[in-house]
Symmetry: C2
Subunit: 236 residues, 2 copies
DNA sequence: GACAAACGCGAATAAACAGTCGCATTCTTT
DNA sequence: AAAGAATGCGACTGTTTATTCGCGTTTGTC
């Protein structure tokens, strides 16, 4: 049975048919796309208000996703207005997370474009660069972290995150093979996975503490990354 | 306003009073304790059936907690019977997670009882032991992992997990200071935190893959732990 | 300033669930 | 075997919440 994104009330008669059809549409693809583009200036601000409200509420409530009513009220709107621009609740969360999620691949890809390192010292420098670049993504988006956690905790959004994760792992792997083309694809993927997991886990807890502790944890992560990855590179 | 564990229906009249009082009781402490001890043998088996059903369903549905009805049906019972032994749904999950959660401290504590290492080689061996011991907890309880994830994803159960986490961190820290008494408490705590997070994150993803990959990831984690911790020990 | 499109509203709908309670059945004990 | 305790049942209650839809209001355009 279909257990889709939302509890769409099933209407009676021909309307029932419409509702079911709509659900299927959503399931396949369009579900999380913005329902419409804002046409008047007033409304484009409304979208921002909704997004802001959702962000603030998610932060306030830990990782629990706020209700549509709460979001609407916080944004000074009615529920109906929210649904003018978002097809369902999860789309709001996803929209918030999307910029963060997508900035990751960009940053890693950039690190692959440079000339590959030729010795240990150069490699160490490259690790450090990849490292500080990815760290900046977390620091710049610190306020978004509760949303990211909410997304991974949401059964419907999880698959989408997994897609991004897969991409990120592939890019870490590509970065490793850029440094050492002889590295097996499978090994590179595994190391990429571990790099991602370790970085993510440590930075998430790091951001919940003070800045000084965050920086110390960052040093820890760098040491771990280096230890993880160096054995797999045949550099002198 | 109180937004406790469950949506207890508010009854009218004097019953309303009772319901509210019960809620408060739960909030304070007893909420997650078993409602009653089974007195007849038939019922102690029932508790197992409930636990089994909850485990299977949690595994089937990813990390989403199953409904009380689903648990009851799967256990071949009615909802009412479930509530004979568990005060609410989360208590079932918690009961499942508890053995795992509590076996962690035991295992780490055991590693502190031995004589502290005096040189790098001994220390490496101690790391490896702590490491394989904790790894075994994950391997032995692989089927429980979805439950553990569900617990961390549940707003009401999270605080309880956090308590266990705090204890685990403190124990890792104690282990480090056992190896190097000169280590600052604060530093030890941070390193403990990182050890725990890295171990947990990597092992969770490791268990989702094949056994061979799990073992390789384990080697990665060991290398990272060593790299993380060695600089803080003044051994020759 | 009039018309249509866009926007905004919020009561109403319906689905999903947690937890209860009075009655039925089974066990234990004497 | 009869009483009473424990257990089992499941229809029902109450709550929360996502989403809709028809109608009123604002805005942009000619």
């Amino acid at each position: 049975m279909y257990s889709g994104l939302h509890r769409a009330p099933r209407l009676s008669g021909e309307r029932g048919q419409r509702a079911v059809k709509r659900s299927l549409d959503r399931k396949t693809k369009i579900a999380l796309e913005p329902r419409k583009q804002p046409r008047q200036q007033r409304s484009s601000k409304v979208v921002d208000r909704i997004l802001d409200a959702a962000l603030i509420l998610t932060r306030e409530q830990g990782t629990k996703t706020p209700t549509t009513l709460a979001i609407a009220q916080r944004a000074g709107l009615s529920v109906g207005s929210v649904y003018q621009y978002f097809p369902n609740k999860e789309a709001i969360l996803l929209e918030l997370g999307r910029r963060w999620l997508s900035s990751f691949p960009e940053v890693i890809a950039k690190r692959i474009k440079v000339a590959p390192p030729t010795n240990r010292e150069e490699f160490r420098r490259e690790v450090r660069k990849l490292f500080t670049d990815t760290s900046r993504i977390y620091l710049d988006n610190a306020t978004l972290m509760p949303v990211i956690e909410a997304i991974s905790g949401n059964a419907d959004l999880r698959p989408i995150q997994d897609e991004y994760d897969k991409e990120i792992i592939a890019l870490y792997a590509a970065w490793l093979r850029h440094a050492n083309p002889a590295l097996e694809e499978k090994t590179a993927k595994r190391l990429g996975l571990v790099m991602m997991e370790v970085g993510h886990a440590c930075r998430l807890v790091g951001l919940k503490r003070d800045r000084k502790t965050y920086d110390l944890i960052e040093d820890d992560v760098e040491a771990m990354w280096l230890a993880l990855v160096t054995p797999y590179l045949n550099l002198d």
